[in-house]
């Protein structure tokens, strides 16, 4: 016993640099730097890095971040949710149905929608836990079920697949601006006045800054990322999330309430999807049956770029947020750079592959597997 207490001659000393590189976010960090360098070189003059351009890709990235946080925590807990995209469409439609068709006050419509969607998330989780089926299959079923209802309901009650008029209905509501409003408008006006941010030269908004505030969408994204990161790394619940995804049986043996953790993560994913939907509905002023298509995969890709392991038990919310940032910057950046937009997918595929290869290597270093 005593001789094992001395330094094991077969464990190599690791350099500080190598140790500092051993974190799940590394792939996301490298990718972020690479993407920014690329666009600074090729699209600097396009306005991508002017106030309006920054706001443009920030909003897109923030959208990805909101759903990536949920997908990230759920994936670390060892499960998938493929119904995120359908949930976005469904949640938006629910807000329209309650707020416009049934003419309820907007805040009631939003709250009811949150209750319904988070309950559906719980149902997803409950079925997965009870049946022991892979969440991949269960949520795939919900992908179709929810999308079907999202098309069926507006067609039946309104005879169309888009319900508009939400912006007017939300006028004066206290809860709607929490999702669709902007903050720091005075600060941005001041930035416009001192010339940091461009102002409109003419027209009805003459003198107003081109970026007139920080959209609540971005605030939600940052809050959710901060919440997710602290929850995961700084609380006992976070330890349970890792444990539930790392080895559910071992976690149960140690007294971790694995089922509760998983169901709560399904509910949180649904909550994130609903936040996304509510922000989108408030921004567009309408709910459409095709909203949120393919979002589940984009969320999962962002999470995987961010260093999470598809099989659970390992990952980082900060990494997922960086993955979402890469996603948003590339999608909008190619537009600014004047590149044919279909190449976005090519670029994305390459980044995904590169990030995953890098992440696999990092993980091997951390866990010592070969």
């Amino acid at each position: 016993m005593a001789d094992t207490a001395t330094t094991d001659e077969r464990v190599k000393e690791m350099s500080r640099l190598r140790l500092s590189l051993m974190r799940p976010e590394l792939g996301g960090m490298v990718g972020t730097v690479a993407v920014f360098v690329f666009f600074l070189l090729f699209a600097y003059d396009s306005g991508m890095f002017a106030a309006q351009g920054i706001m443009n890709w920030s909003i897109v990235s923030a959208q990805f971040m909101i759903i990536a946080v949920g997908a990230c925590l759920l994936m670390i807990a060892g499960e998938f949710d493929l119904s995120v995209g359908s949930m976005i469409g469904f949640a938006g439609m629910m807000i329209a149905v309650f707020g416009i068709v049934l003419d309820l006050p907007m805040w009631i419509a939003i709250l009811i929608t949150f209750v319904i969607c988070v309950s559906l998330g719980a149902l997803n989780g409950f079925i997965v836990i009870r049946t022991g089926l892979p969440s991949f299959i269960v949520t795939l079923a919900f992908l179709f079920i929810l999308r079907g209802f999202t098309i069926y309901i507006p067609q039946t009650v309104e005879n169309k697949t888009i319900i508009g008029g939400i912006r007017d209905a939300a006028e004066g509501d206290w809860l709607a601006p929490v999702f669709g409003g902007k903050i720091f408008t005075g600060f941005f006006q001041w930035l416009g006045d001192i010339g940091v941010v461009g102002v409109f030269e003419r027209g009805s908004r003459e003198g107003q800054p081109v970026v007139d505030g920080l959209p609540m969408l971005i605030v939600w994204a940052l809050l959710l990322v901060a919440f997710g990161h602290i929850l995961l790394t700084r609380t006992r619940f976070g330890n349970w999330v890792f444990a539930a995804g790392g080895d559910a049986e071992a976690a149960r043996n140690s007294g971790v309430p694995v089922n509760r953790v998983k169901v709560l993560m399904f509910m949180f994913t649904a909550f994130c999807a609903t936040v996304f939907a509510t922000c989108q509905v408030m921004e567009f002023g309408s709910a459409g049956a095709d909203r949120g298509l393919l979002k589940e995969f984009e969320a999962i890709i962002a999470v995987v770029i961010g260093g999470a392991l598809l099989t659970g038990g390992y990952g980082s919310v900060i990494g997922a947020a960086l993955g979402a940032l890469i996603f948003g910057v590339v999608q909008q950046g190619l537009f600014f750079a004047g590149v044919e937009s279909s190449l976005f997918r090519v670029f994305l595929g390459i980044i995904l592959l590169g990030a995953v290869v890098l992440n696999t290597y990092i993980r091997r270093m951390i866990t010592g597997e070969r």
Binding site: T7, R234, N239, A243, D247, N253, G255
Partner: protein, 264 residues
């Protein structure tokens, strides 16, 4: 004998029966365990060892029979109840998660909490410090508390699991075949850990089908065969050959050539 005369048993299992549908896994097994002893539970595959310890640790409810813990009848509904009472199990399939750090594993399910502005946070500093200290006591030299369990050897993982159980106040420690997948040197490390733990007054239930491992640390030996006890023997009252024969259920083991050492 010494522990026996001074103390009452900490766990008494009386005539435990467990049926799974038509299968009788345990047909009236009685075992008692005293503080500070290492009670070895031997048996071949399928003898009911695992079912028996799962009954003791609250995973299964006995179909018939009584469990007394510290003299009082106990009815554990969940493993958590048994754990709270002080019965900890280190499973054959380790309760360790390779991707997580040693300190996160050590405190899994028992995370220390520090309140900041009323919000309970995971006290990682305390967790890291405690982990390093406990590991040093057990003779494991970690690179750091954030080293992943996946980088430890099988014996080291067992030792982490055992010291974790003891740290969290286990009075009875059930070890489910802790040495079955280990090399010689790692096995001796785990057996040394068992000895350290026993000397702290913890009752150890050591499940194994390796007679030599059992005889190395055991104070008493109970052999299970086809769901029944074949009696409990004291250290020094039984030879390895007798134990081996009991495990085989009185049947002759396949006679091996002298060149192979006679017995299995």
């Amino acid at each position: 004998m010494n522990a026996r005369s001074e103390h009452a048993p900490i766990v008494e299992m009386r005539n435990i029966e467990k049926h799974f549908g038509p299968v009788i896994a345990l047909a009236g097994v009685s075992v008692d365990v005293y503080p500070g002893e290492c009670h070895c539970l031997l048996g071949d595959n399928g003898a009911g060892k695992s079912t028996f310890i799962k009954t003791m640790s609250g995973v299964h409810k006995p179909t018939k029979g009584e469990i007394l813990f510290e003299g009082k009848p106990m009815n554990f509904a969940t493993p958590r109840d048994a754990m709270d009472a002080g019965i900890a199990t280190v499973h054959q399939h380790l309760a360790m998660i390779p991707l997580m750090s040693v300190s996160r594993n050590f405190f899994m399910g028992n995370e220390p909490v520090k309140k900041i502005a009323g919000i309970p946070f995971f006290d990682r500093d305390l967790a890291d410090r405690t982990t390093m200290e406990e590991m040093r006591k057990m003779g494991i030299n970690l690179r750091g508390p954030d080293q992943a369990v996946g980088t430890l050897s099988g014996g080291e993982r067992q030792t982490v699991a055992i010291s974790r159980a003891v740290h969290f106040g286990a009075k009875v420690l059930i070890l489910d075949e802790p040495t079955s997948a280990l090399g010689v040197r790692q096995t001796s490390n785990v057996l040394a850990t068992i000895d350290k733990v026993r000397k702290q007054g913890v009752a150890v239930v050591f499940i194994t089908h390796n007679v030599r491992h059992a005889l190395a640390v055991g104070d008493r030996f109970t052999v299970l065969n086809r769901g029944q006890t074949l009696g409990t023997a004291q250290r020094g009252q039984i030879t390895p050959d007798e134990l081996q024969d009991m495990m085989a259920g009185g049947q002759e083991l396949a006679q091996l050539d002298d060149a192979l050492g006679g017995t299995v």
